[in-house]
Amino acid sequence: MSREAILKKFEPSLDNILYILHELQDNNTQHYISKEDLKACAEYLNLPYSYVHGVATFYTMFSLKPRGQHIIRLCDSPPCHLMGSASLLDYLKKKLNIEIGETTTDSVFTLELSSCLGVCGVAPAMMINDEMFGNLTPEKVDAILEERRKSR
């Protein structure tokens, strides 16, 4: 969908800024909000560019940098921590050869941390895009990533 068509779906009201930013980000094949997106949003809502930039950087679900096809969000809350998310993080970093916030060179995976995903019963947990995975172990992570890599 074109940027203009996305904007037109919403009333030009400040209340809609988060919806608009989400749609613009989802619409981008690289899953990020581009400079042009921010400018278009600022102009459409008649808001200062700096204000829209402030909003987009405040919320961790938004990215101003291009991201991979699959976004891994590993839960960083205390229950997952107790259940071993820290060592899973190390495992993921090593396996993908990237740091938090970075994207693999083949642009398939981006590694991020998330606050509580609300599934503490199956800790440690992570999300890939919109899908949830619990009771993670390194072996399980291997299988999930392998399957994702194939499905690209």
């Binding site: 200062p48 560019y49 700096s50 930039h53 950087t57 101003l64």
Partner: protein, 598 residues
């Protein structure tokens, strides 16, 4: 509890409470900080500023209120009936120290080499609270200093995230160049995409430097360049000082705010070894001749009304960025600084028989935007950059101190001829409404050939955000308006834009806009500590000088008559056009860059 933003002081219902066991009765809606002040109790603050809405971002002003488990921020908590407040308990003192120590852990504490050394609110606070050790380890990562702007430097390593700069930039000036980015520990104050102030909509007004409590925002200094020129025997260095400097420079030398130091300033500059000490006030009078003539011509022709003043370079960039549709309304007359520049390298150079490339033209300005203005590529009417270096009031004070010159002890000396003589009309340029008043004094004469009798045009004076007046000029009711501070300008110009769009004309004939609250006396290059009350006091000083001068109308200035006779011909002549008038560019409202015409 009532939140601060819902506070109402006008109802005047009185409430009783105690602070440190002392009874106090105050109007409902008074903050704990204000109430304590009435008892002569100073609660320390850091992010708080009298001109701004409290945001409570620093937490230094915490106090204990009996019956509440947590400490309360005195700056934004409204006192309530029956409260027992304690401002000096062990818990409160420890909390304050802890906060300052935490700020230190994330702040470059290289005070000795900091521009704010001795004038820093954080330094004062550390002294007040008796902090003697750094309790927390330092954050290791150095952040990059933003030097992208020609006017303002931003050092994020000094920033304490109080948010004052953002509030003045977005609420008072409505420019919105600065913003908070990221969250939590990663929070920074920055421009969009961190591209730097020089690549943003920043209009260089410098109000952020005035409101910053620490050394995170300050002018890009040209002091070293000026020292070098002064020490170069091949150069002929001339200096001009803006109208507002004479009402503020004294503050840097422990004189009372509002002390008039015009004569001392000229003497001090001579002792710095400038080859000629002139005065921007002379070209302020010249601006009135050119701009006044333009106003009269345009009113006669009914063309591009209202005329809007062009003296304030912060306002000019603001107009180019946010109000380009009013470009034709803005006077083409250059600002007094930029009229002085080319004249120093043409008229004066020729009179003196000095070649222009030998002349270094320095200006002392209350303003950071003047640095940007001097470096605009079109400002080369003399064939060279017309104004070479611009120093703020603060930079001049630093030079004088370094040279061991105590302004207080200087004799009163006049400026040099032929670019130094000035009238009262010129000196009031430094206060909001001053340009308007000066223009009206001369416009009346230009239209009627008679002198305006009552030249004190009081409705355009003072600190009201938008002022209006009507002046009868031979039957023509001239409607004028004055706005200072870009937020006020925006209000006025939205109204004007609306009138122009709907009716094809505006109710106003002539509008004065100054970017900074209070006009140039409140400029971004003025001594630290400019709150609104001090700006008002400085402005009054200029009106007092106006009253004391032999000539109070620009067209009466003998040196102005002489320059038209000997050099320029008449106002609006071809020569004037070449040297004293300019043009503007449309800029992007996203990054402030000049947009190329389609």
């Amino acid at each position: 509890m009532v939140p601060y933003r819902k506070r109402r002081l006008q109802e005047q219902k009185m409430i009783k409470a105690t602070i440190n066991n002392v009874d106090i009765e105050v109007a409902e809606g008074t903050t704990i900080l204000e109430a304590a002040k009435k008892l002569h109790l100073n609660i320390p603050t850091l992010c708080h500023h009298p001109d701004l809405t409290p945001e409570g971002s620093c937490g230094i002003c915490v106090v204990e209120v009996e019956g509440f488990p947590t400490l309360k921020r005195a700056c934004m908590t409204l006192l309530e009936q029956g409260w027992k407040v304690y401002t000096n308990t062990a818990r409160v003192r420890n909390a304050r120290k802890e906060i300052v120590e935490l700020i230190f852990s994330n702040h470059d504490t290289d005070c000795l080499t900091c521009i704010k050394n001795g004038k820093c609110e954080l330094q004062d606070l550390a002294a007040t609270l008796g902090i003697r050790t750094f309790e927390y380890p330092k954050a290791d990562k150095k952040k990059e200093i933003d030097t992208s702007s020609v006017a303002i430097i931003r050092d994020p390593n000094k920033c304490i995230l109080c948010g004052r700069c953002i509030q003045v930039c977005s609420k008072i000036q409505t420019v919105n160049a600065l913003t908070l980015s990221q969250r939590g520990y990663d929070t920074v104050i920055t421009t969009v995409f961190g591209e730097g102030m020089g690549n943003s909509v920043c209009v260089n007004c410098g109000q952020c430097t005035v409101y910053c409590p620490v050394g995170a925002l300050y002018e890009k200094s040209q002091v070293e360049e000026v020292w070098e020129a002064l020490n170069n025997p091949d150069k002929h260095v001339v200096v001009q000082e803006a109208p507002a400097i004479r009402a503020t420079l004294g503050e840097e030398f422990d004189l009372e705010p509002g002390s008039l130091v015009a004569g001392k300033m000229h003497a001090a500059l001579r002792r710095l070894k400038f080859d000629a000490v002139f005065d921007t006030n002379f070209t302020a009078d010249l601006t009135i001749m050119e701009e006044g003539t333009e106003v009269v011509e345009r009113i006669k022709a009914g063309k591009n009304l209202p005329v809007i003043t062009s003296c304030s370079p912060g306002w000019i960039k603001f107009m180019e960025t946010f109000y380009p549709h009013l470009m034709a309304n803005v006077s083409t007359a250059k600002s007094p600084q930029q009229m002085f520049g080319p004249l120093s390298k043409t008229y004066y150079a020729e009179l003196k028989g000095i070649s222009k490339e030998k002349i270094v033209s320095v200006s002392i300005m209350p303003c950071t935007a003047k640095k940007f203005e001097a470096q605009r590529p079109e400002m080369k009417a003399s064939g060279y950059q017309d104004v070479d270096f611009v120093l703020t009031t603060r930079e001049l004070a630093r030079m004088l101190r370094e040279a061991g010159i105590d302004l207080k002890e200087m004799p009163d000396e006049p400026a040099d001829d032929p670019l130094g003589e000035y009238t009262g009309a010129a000196t009031i340029f430094g206060a909001t409404g001053g340009v308007m008043e000066a223009a009206l004094r001369s416009a009346y004469f230009l239209v009627t050939g008679r002198e305006l009798e009552n030249i004190d045009i009081l409705p355009v004076r003072g600190m009201a955000g938008i002022k209006e007046a009507e002046v009868d000029v031979d039957g023509l009711k001239l409607k004028v308006a004055v706005a200072h501070g870009l937020g006020n300008a925006r209000k006025l110009l939205d109204k004007v834009s609306d009138q122009l769009a709907k009716e094809g004309k505006s109710e106003y004939h002539f509008i004065e806009i100054m970017a900074c609250p209070g006009g140039c006396v409140g400029g971004g290059g003025q001594p630290w500590g400019s709150d609104m009350a001090r700006r008002a006091r400085r402005g009054e000083t200029l009106y007092e000088e106006d009253k004391s001068l032999p000539f109070r109308r620009s067209h009466e200035n003998p040196s102005i008559k002489a320059i038209y006779e000997k050099y320029l011909g008449h106002p609006y002549s071809d020569k004037s056009h070449h040297l004293l008038h300019t043009h503007y560019y449309k800029r992007s409202p996203l990054d402030g860059k000049v947009l190329l015409e389609e």
